[in-house]
Symmetry: C2
Subunit: 328 residues, 2 copies
């Protein structure tokens, strides 16, 4: 029995708690520390006996951590922490601002290379597993079209947007794929689909006392960029219903590649996720990639990496020999 | 523009023709030769101008071929050709006798290593893309269960078996997943399923003149191993209907991983294929892996490999930089 992979967590929000939960399901890993910007006494770890420490203590613990999983947000935490911590640790993160990935990759790659560390960026499901399926789909069926549908899922950004509307006391927004569009794609048709044809948006809103429901509805459905290009329904509910029925964070979706391999034959590849908890699934992906990062580092592969650079076998606790015998 | 990858094909059955068709869809590849055991004049290539040569000519052409795609069968062709040709060429094959993969891997690995060649074995969809999804599913959701369903698809082995029944003039067999079982698994239930509960078998049979339909039906549905553990229906059709309605080779199926990431939250991952042509899709996978083999060889990775050893980005004609910008 080799010694377990020593994992530490930087940041203890939904993602950090999900990583704790995932590590408990991977016997070849050990959680050695949770690092936080909050006063450590305020953080309640799920894992018995794990030390909770301040972010400032991290640098001094480099020798005791095999892989550090960065659980901060993509907007302000990761652009700062990613490059800094990749100089000291092997890291995994879920940087998900798609348009800024090349810039973030470069910012992490330089310090990681200079210090012989391995830093896997943008793991999760999108970017992450969905990205892998977009690339594989196109490589296997070069003549064809790729479709990504999201939902049914709670969108954090759109929920925040409706909560900023005057008259709104609380609310959530779900993104849903339009079933008719999904069925057309699954059938092999390869339609051109507008934004409105692909997804719709469902809002559940608690009004402030005395607020004008019609005005709130109008303000939501016409909101530029967030809602105006979609068919949006607004449902008014009580604060009690919001708490009782909308506390979970489900998500999911599909990547579909529809292509032809000859004049006669069409082929459809579909990868789908139905997630009871979006952050817990993302965390599970981060933890599996932490295993791969540990191995890549041991093999001397330094610098920033993405899911495209990682062979599937590196994610599994099983040996290559065992995988060939059992899973091929 | 770099020069195209020079591909050759060994064997020109359904798979070899599919490889031709796939190469025509990958502009970074060039088909440089088709090698056959038949008299070359009997082989009609789809690709204008490509030389058709005897298998004996292969050894003399080692310097002109970057990757040789082996399109023979797993029963007798590949066990002999795989190890022999991996000593001379980088190879890709679709060896699919699951139980004998470890043995075949070892037989190919030794000559490939000794001669600094790269040999990817057992590519296709199962083994192949389904195997990748079994490994990823288990790595991402270690607490859970994996299900593989096949169909609707034409099974070559079972079609051969019914054609050997006395009184049968012709016929085909389709394997179908039992929809109720698929729905239970998709719902996150994680049932224990027997062989009979997972798949059923549909046969379309043409009787010989004067044959006893009931006796043929009984002989099929009670056939040990092939049919006795399944619910099997036998439909009698005319030779004309067989030719008209059952000439295609569709297949497909799903790999579903159903797991938990905490006491509260269930997650379901599903990978599905709906294939108009089983051999053409397998061929498309072989061709994408030929690209990866060419790159692995250039990087000095010698010996036998499987799909578990190949990072997704290596299958794509796009650069790592382009993939990060476009597909992540």
């Amino acid at each position: 029995m080799t010694s377990p992979i020593r994992i530490a967590i930087a940041g203890h929000g939904n993602l950090g708690r999900g990583v704790e939960s995932a590590i408990a399901r991977n016997p070849d890993m050990q959680l050695v520390g949770i690092y936080t910007r909050r006063p450590p006494a305020q953080v309640q770890p799920l894992t018995a006996g794990v030390p909770v420490l301040g972010m400032d203590d991290l640098a001094g613990h480099a020798g005791q951590i095999d892989v550090l999983i960065l659980c901060g947000g993509s907007k302000s935490d990761l652009p700062e922490q990613g490059p800094q911590l990749a100089a000291l640790f092997n890291t995994v993160d879920s940087f998900d601002t798609h348009a800024r990935i090349p810039e973030y990759f470069a910012a992490v790659d330089a310090p990681a290379r200079a210090n012989q560390k391995t830093a896997l960026i943008s793991a999760g499901w999108d970017p992450g597993m969905f990205s892998i399926n977009r690339v594989l789909g196109e490589a296997l069926l070069p003549e064809g079209a790729t479709y990504t549908f999201w939902g049914k899922g709670l969108s954090q950004g759109h929920s925040d947007a409706i909560r900023r509307v005057p008259g709104v006391a609380g609310g959530v927004q779900y993104t849903l794929p339009v079933e008719a569009a999904v069925e057309r794609v699954r059938s092999g048709e390869r339609p051109q689909l507008s934004t409105r044809e692909k997804h719709r948006r469902d809002c559940y809103v608690v009004l402030q006392e005395g607020a004008d429901a019609d005005a709130v509805r109008r303000a939501i459905v016409t909101m530029p960029h967030y809602f105006d290009e979609y068919d949006t329904t607004v449902n008014f509910i009580s604060a009690e219903e919001l708490r009782r029925d909308h506390g979970a964070m489900p998500h999911g979706g599909f990547v579909i590649r529809s292509g032809s391999t000859s004049a006669e034959n069409a082929q459809v590849i579909e990868y789908g996720l139905k997630l009871g908890s979006n952050p817990e699934f993302t965390s599970s992906v981060l933890v599996a990639y932490a295993r791969a990062v540990h191995r890549l580092h041991a093999q001397g592969h330094y610098g920033a990496k993405t899911v495209f650079d990682v062979a599937p076998g590196l994610l599994s606790p099983k040996s290559a020999e065992q995988l060939r015998a059992e899973a091929l």
